[in-house]
Amino acid sequence: MTATTGQPPHVVAGITVPRVMFQVLLALVPVTAVQAYLFGLRPLLLLAVAGIAALACEALALRLRRRSPQPFLRDGSVLVTAVLLALAVPPTLPVPLLVFGIAVAVLVGKHAYGGLGQNPFNPAMVGYAVLLVSFPLEMTRWPAPGAGWDAMTGATALDTLRTGLRQSYTMQEIFAGPAFGHVGAAGAEWISLAALAGGLYLLARRIIRWHIPAAMLAGLAAPAALFHMIDPGAHATATFHLAAGATMLGAFFIATDPVSAATSDRGRLFYGAGIGVLTWVIRTWGGFPDGVAFAVLIMNLAVPLIDRYTVPRIYGHAQR
């Protein structure tokens, strides 16, 4: 017989980080497909560039930190960061800017804090936010759907809505514009639908749990519905907010990043709801086209506090 010093338990389920990350990448296929359908091959080029740049940055960071490149290069987490950032930026974004964003995300957002599992902020959103404040013009011009990436670019529906309202247009006039589709932005609403489909797949495969997406969507829809009810002329409907911008991608793929999210079920409800409300607030009164990235980063800041106050009741202990 072989004598070992193995400690119990002696059996594990065999779920691994790479498998989890692969499932997330798989769930992003519909979004990618819709973007390619709407904007041509350019989004696919961005994806490829982002993936290669991210792997290179990861390898560089591991080398600088004197860590072995395996298993981290193969864990897939850096690819998820890359794909999320590539899908979140406009397809017209110049390639060097995207590479810069990826470098910020991986080197600063992830490895400056200690790499996988240690980053307090969502790395993809760190990259996105830095790109947005550094290159606001390039980051806010989206091509018109179906026209190809080199065609006329214009403001997004969320942008058009805000500027329209500031210039005293009525809601009907604004929504008659070319940037709007059935319920949300033209084109973008199909991306949202694809993100929702991917998100439901992740829920079904138990890669993510319902707390964060449900709380975020409710946190966004509730104030939107309330203010629309009070003043329909100045506030878009909850349906519009749910279908517009990065709502669905954010709810199922970005806010659910476990490393930078709150960690208990109850904490995740607060965390998700906070992202939802902040997204609506930034969209309504802020100066940026969409609020998801900043809402996520702000709630990342609040995670230690949320975690501190949402420790579940322990068996045999009274509620604290």
Binding site: T2, T4, H10, V11, I15, Q118, V311
Partner: protein, 480 residues
Amino acid sequence: MSLRGGLRLDSHKARPLERPIRGVPPPTEIALALDQGSGEESVPVVKAGDAVHMGTLVAASAGAAASLHSPVSGIVREIAVRTTLRGSGRCIVIENDGNDRRAASLAPLDWRTLDEVALLEHIAAGGVAGLGGAAFPTATKLALARAARADLLLLNGAECEPWICCDDGLMRERAAQVVLGAQVMLAATGARRCVVAIEDDKPEAILAMESAVSAASDARIEIRVLPAVFPLGAEGALVTAVTGREVPHDGLPPQVGVVCQNVGTAAAVARLVQDGQPVISRIVTVTGSGVREPCNVEARVGTPVADLIGACGGSDGPELRHIAGGSLTGRILQSDTVPVTKGLNCVLVATSADLPARGMEMPCIRCGDCATVCPAGLLPQQLHAAARTDDTAGLVRYGLSACIECGCCDYVCPSAIPLTARFRTAREQQHLQDMERRRALDAKARYERHQRRLAEQAEAERRAFDEARRRARDSETGTD
């Protein structure tokens, strides 16, 4: 109310149950570990050269160790340190003469005529201990329940851990014994009713127990079928699943009116009253793909594990691992010469296909899957972070002491972090720190007492000096 968290696992119990319980021939040499699994040692009352019979008391009960009886007749050879389930420990080694002469004191008991105190004394004298694995003295536990006026006797037949099926086999073949044991324990504690909890993956055992209860026509005993979830058979989880009450973190089940006993322990009590036989044998599951004929066996306490495997056709295969217990909470056996104890429920001879190796450990990604399955409601991810940074306050805040070491968090962890082992280490460290702190406080108190005494002494000397000087002065003025 159901269990929080937990896992639904492949049970791996079918194969040993295809065969009836098989006897293991008593070995020529028996090694009775003084620590039978509770972590404390009983006190030997025999010495080398003494002749013993089957059932002769050889070690007296002490603390959490029940009394110990010779499983064979023969001569005590020595009391020496041997390899045991817990690594190593003192054992009473008895040379078996093969005659199985019974001690004269062994006689059936008319238990219905005895009062609670006399029954508890008999159970203690019979060396009955928790056969579920803890090996804690049954009489002590029953006495606590009696003192707390617990009204429910909860018989644990859940057997939730994969591979282990000795209780299943027992309930199938000896259900009447379990029911008789329940009746005796009801009489010994004054509890008014008894629930036998069995998981729903044991339909044969449930049927056998139901017919035994109706044959005994005892309305106080009820069979409760529970879902097969690991670790539902853990004491706290079982109490909550059956009664809806939670055992306080600083208390025991009798505080919520419950006393838990394993079904095997009940059967041992029944044997004690039926034919006066103390606990000198137990049923052990011998299983795993490395065993030729997986089977439940009945073996004398002190029999080497290798004999049990031999009775099951021997083992075969490369890189076999021998585990005492199941795949989630069992311990690796360092040698197959270790003797059977009252707490040993299973010998798992596992191939690498049974228990595939874990992947490489990765950093925690805070996915929270561990928290979802934790039956104690803990956040293992936060405990892990606290343990990693030696954050003692964090370990307390996140409830390290409530961890029951079931291993569910390890099982689901995508980063292959050995969480349970880390928590066990952290707990040992915490225990050491507590002892260190207590020692430091004691030393401080001693020092302060010493200082106070010195100060008092100095004060007294000063006063005496002043007094003497005053008197001297007085006498001077007096003479002037």
